[in-house]
C-alpha cells in the first residue's frame, strides 16, 4: 500500500502511523520534518511552500514505489504540506512499515533524501527583513 498526499491543511503523525501499521509489520520508521526557528542563526518568521502539484504527487509516488520494492516494505505513506507554515508545524511526514526494522529506517531515509532532491516543491523562508527561496542559489 502506498498513500501520497499533498495538503494545505495540518498533517497528522498519528494518521500516518495508523495508515502503515499492518499485521505483518514489526517495525515502523517515521520521519517528521518540522519548521525550524532559524537558518544559519537568522530568525525565521514563517515558511511558504508551493508545489507543481500533479508532478509533485507523481514524483513522490515514484519514490515510494522504488523504496517499497527495494526494501520490501509493507506500506509507505508520504504526506507533504503546502501553503504558509509556522515554526514547529509539520512540512512532511514519511512513514514506512516493514517486517524488520532495519529496512524501515533505510527506506524512510531514502524517501526523505530523494524527496528533497527530486520533488517539485519549493519553500521560501520569511525573515524580518526579507525572504529567500531555500537552496535556489549555490
Amino acid at each position: 500500500m502506498i498513500d501520497i498526499q499533498l495538503k494545505d491543511t495540518e498533517l497528522s503523525v498519528q494518521e500516518c502511523n495508523d495508515l502503515v501499521v499492518s499485521d505483518g509489520s514489526g517495525g515502523i520508521a517515521i520521519f517528521v520534518g518540522t519548521i525550524r526557528n532559524q537558518t544559519k542563526g537568522k530568525a525565521v518568521q514563517r515558511l511558504e511552500f508551493e508545489s507543481y502539484k500533479p508532478m509533485a504527487i507523481s514524483e513522490m509516488r515514484k519514490i515510494a514505489e522504488q523504496a517499497k520494492e527495494k526494501w520490501e516494505a509493507e506500506k509507505i505513506v508520504i504526506h507533504h504540506r503546502v501553503g504558509v507554515l509556522q515554526i514547529r508545524e509539520i512540512a512532511v511526514i514519511i512513514a514506512v512499515s516493514t517486517p524488520h526494522r532495519k529496512a524501515a529506517f533505510e527506506a524512510c531515509q531514502y524517501c526523505i533524501d530523494t524527496l528533497k532532491e527530486t520533488v517539485p516543491i519549493w519553500k521560501k523562508e520569511i525573515f524580518e527583513d526579507g525572504e529567500v527561496w531555500v537552496a535556489a542559489h549555490p
Partner: protein, 80 residues
C-alpha cells in the same frame, strides 16, 4: 513554434509571472529552451540548477519539444 512555459518558486520571480511564452524553431530541444530562457532572463544562470519538466516528467537536454507540451521550469527544489 511558441512554447508556453510555466514557472514555480524563484523562477516565477525571475520571469515576473506565472508563465512566459518562448519562441523556438520547430523541433528544438530542452537545451535550446534553457538557452533561450537564460538569454532572456540572465538570473537563471545564477541558480544552483535548472531543470525542465515536460508533461509532468523531468526531461533531458536532448528531448524534443512540441508546441502542445506542458513545459515547466523547475528551479532547485526545496521540499521536506
Amino acid at each position: 513554434m511558441k512554447i508556453n512555459v510555466l514557472a514555480f518558486g524563484i523562477a516565477k520571480d525571475i520571469i515576473n509571472g506565472q508563465s512566459v511564452e518562448i519562441e523556438l524553431e520547430d523541433g528544438m530541444d530542452v537545451q535550446s529552451l534553457k538557452a533561450s530562457l537564460c538569454n532572456k532572463f540572465p538570473e537563471f544562470n545564477k541558480l544552483r540548477s535548472l531543470a525542465i519538466a515536460v508533461n509532468e516528467e523531468y526531461q533531458r537536454d536532448d528531448f524534443k519539444l512540441k508546441e502542445a507540451d506542458e513545459v515547466v521550469i523547475i528551479p532547485p527544489v526545496s521540499g521536506g
